[in-house]
Amino acid sequence: MATPSVVRPRSRPRISGLAWRRARWGYLFIAPWIVGFLAFTAIPIIASFVFTFSNINLEQAEPLQFVGLRNYQTLVSDQRTWDSLAVTLKFGLLALPIGVGLPFLVALLLHSRHLRAPGPFRILFFLPYVVPFVAGVFIWQGMLNADTGWLNGLLKFIGISHPPDWLQDPVWIYPGLVIMGIWGIGAGMIVYLAGLKGIPTDLYEAARIDGAGALQSLRHITIPMMSPVIFYTIVLGSVEVLQYFLVPLVLKNGTGEPGGSTNFFNLYLYQNFFTFQNMSYGATLAWLLFAITLGLTLLLFRSARYWVYYAGEAR
């Protein structure tokens, strides 16, 4: 028991000279990331946190100084911040379920053993994912045009005489943006396909022998077995939704039209930084976003234990 190594204050067993040499190589190889992490992530995070307590801006009309909690006081009383958060929330409540559910449905379709030639379908459903997003915005802008768009053309054809003006109406803009977003289902679809492929087929066979129909199999086998993948898609999806603003930025030139309905939180944040050049308030908003993202992610991870099923933890 009383070997010298146990007496050493470190609980970690002493590693040999050879292992140390290997470890040094390891550090050397990951050094580019360490440097990059410090330069482009760690130090900027700390810096932006410090910014929130200062009055730093690009013009710097008043002398640079610490202002305590002034930026946070501004934040609390800034109606535009809360309005823009509400916009992001409204959009997110619509976009997230569709962003999580639609790729799942497509993956189920593509995974079905009854589907002929799944390969070409998979390629075609993924294809718009590689379309540059600006190009996608302009394509959909035409597609959703109230007069010349094909969607309203179809709606009129089936008898809806006054289809919505998707991109000019402060209420219909949200479904409009969500429709534009369906071209991004490619990634989620592939993750789901991978997950579906990983479900052991004997589960389905057992269910069939027990007399379960397709819907029962879906509900009691597919969805529980897929819950880790669904969970993963929800987490990444909510992080993305909270940062959403580029599509309305291109579509509406950052004006927030129609009627402020596209004043997304991130748009307001970047306006504070790039347009008003107020770095400290921009940083305060960024930290608010960070806090919300972190809180939501933790909440989701908390909830995971109640509904996410991990088959055989030890893999």
Binding site: W33, F40, S48, L124, A135, F138, G142, A187, L193
Partner: protein, 373 residues
């Protein structure tokens, strides 16, 4: 913003297409029941309809790109690109209309004198005969169109947008940043995959955590520093960070490296090869599918990136990328949807072709990554 890399991470989560297609081939050899066939037909039909609806905006874009401005601005024109059919009369181009005549016949006549209540027409079959007078508003008559794609929209955009320059800029940025990504991510992924060192798990967790970090938290100080360095308005902010690895590609490559057996590493070590030499001559030759996958993903990502070029290159049109150029073009020519759609197609054609050509390649690369759930 983080769309393209997200695919990279997600793809690694183990795509089973390759193996699945083989399983499917084995299944299809078994005799099928009649009910199976009906179901198969219905499901495939649904998939065809879904994919047609899904890609229909692309078709609309193609159609608009080859329509004339006249056709787009005029109401009641065909869905397909078309020009009005005309008839040459006394040195003028007269449009042909379908005219129902009082005697019950319908004839194709050239509109000579349009009027709100009375119009006169020329019969193209007998141009020398007297003009036909017709009562009623000519606007209610149906015009005759012929299929006529206007390819010149593409040529116009090519010049207006300075396409060759944008193409060069985009390609240069994409290639250099891909080289940076490949170099740095290979080294870092090798470090995480093959070496044990104190803090490895923590560092790897930290690496993955950066995926969830909102860009806004780091961009303000980073942008400010780039500006102080005089890098804003140059390519440097887009290129330099790629040489310091990123979470998605490191994760992808590490997963792949870990599937390569270590026996050959050990054999190489016994032969006196150092860690670096092992990477070059043992790991990389076996890892080329993931190297190609990362290269393609990053090329497409860099090609499609909008936010980076927007904040760093906006001040200087000469160094902009095609995504940014298209947005600028839209700001000027938004009244001309034909030109916008032509420009849009010219922006997306290269990544789409690159994807279609390499599709097989990278699916295979990713499939072998095989992160079994």
């Amino acid at each position: 913003m983080a769309q393209a890399p997200a695919a990279q991470l997600e793809d690694t989560a183990g795509v089973g297409w390759f193996r699945r297609s083989r399983v499917r081939a084995a299944e299809s050899r078994q005799p099928r029941e009649r009910g199976d066939r009906t179901r198969s037909f219905l499901l495939t039909l649904i998939a065809i309809l879904a994919v047609a609806a899904f890609l229909s905006p692309m078709l609309r874009s193609v159609v608009y790109a080859v329509k004339s401005t006249d056709q787009i601005t005029q109401a009641g024109t065909p869905l397909w690109p078309a020009d009005p059919v005309t008839f040459q009369y006394q040195g003028k181009e007269l449009p042909l209309l379908i005219v129902p005549l009082p005697d019950g016949t319908t004839r194709r006549l050239a509109l000579f004198e349009p009027g709100r209540k009375v119009s006169t027409f020329i019969d193209p079959a007998a141009p020398d005969a007297a003009a036909i007078t017709w009562q009623g508003s000519w606007r209610t008559l149906e015009q005759i169109w012929q299929f006529a794609p206007h390819w010149e929209n593409f040529a116009k955009v090519w010049d207006l947008i300075d396409y060759p320059r944008l193409l060069f800029n985009t390609l240069a940025i994409a290639v250099i940043s891909t080289i940076g990504t490949l170099l740095s991510c290979t080294l870092v992924a090798y470090g995480f995959a093959r070496f044990r060192f104190p803090g490895r798990t923590l560092l790897f967790t930290l690496l993955i955590a950066t995926i969830f970090l909102p860009t806004a938290v780091t961009i303000i100080p980073t942008y400010t520093v780039f500006q102080k360095l005089g890098w804003v308005g140059t390519w440097l902010p887009l290129l330099v960070p790629t040489f310091f690895a990123n979470a998605y590609d490191v994760f992808l490559m590490r997963q792949y490296f870990m599937t390569i057996p270590t026996e050959m590493d050990e054999a190489a070590a016994i032969d006196g090869a150092g860690p670096f030499r092992t990477l070059i001559s043992v790991i990389l030759p076996q890892a080329w599918p993931v190297v190609i996958a990362v290269a393609i993903f990053h090329l497409v990502y860099a090609w499609n990136d909008f936010f980076g070029p927007l904040i760093y290159l906006s001040s200087n049109p000469d160094i902009q990328t095609i995504a940014l150029g298209l947005q600028r073009f839209n700001g000027i020519h938004y009244r001309d949807p034909g030109l916008i759609q032509a420009g849009t197609l010219m922006t997306l054609i290269i990544p789409v072709i690159a994807f279609l050509l390499t599709q097989r390649f990278f699916t295979r690369g990713i499939v072998i990554t095989g992160v079994e759930k």
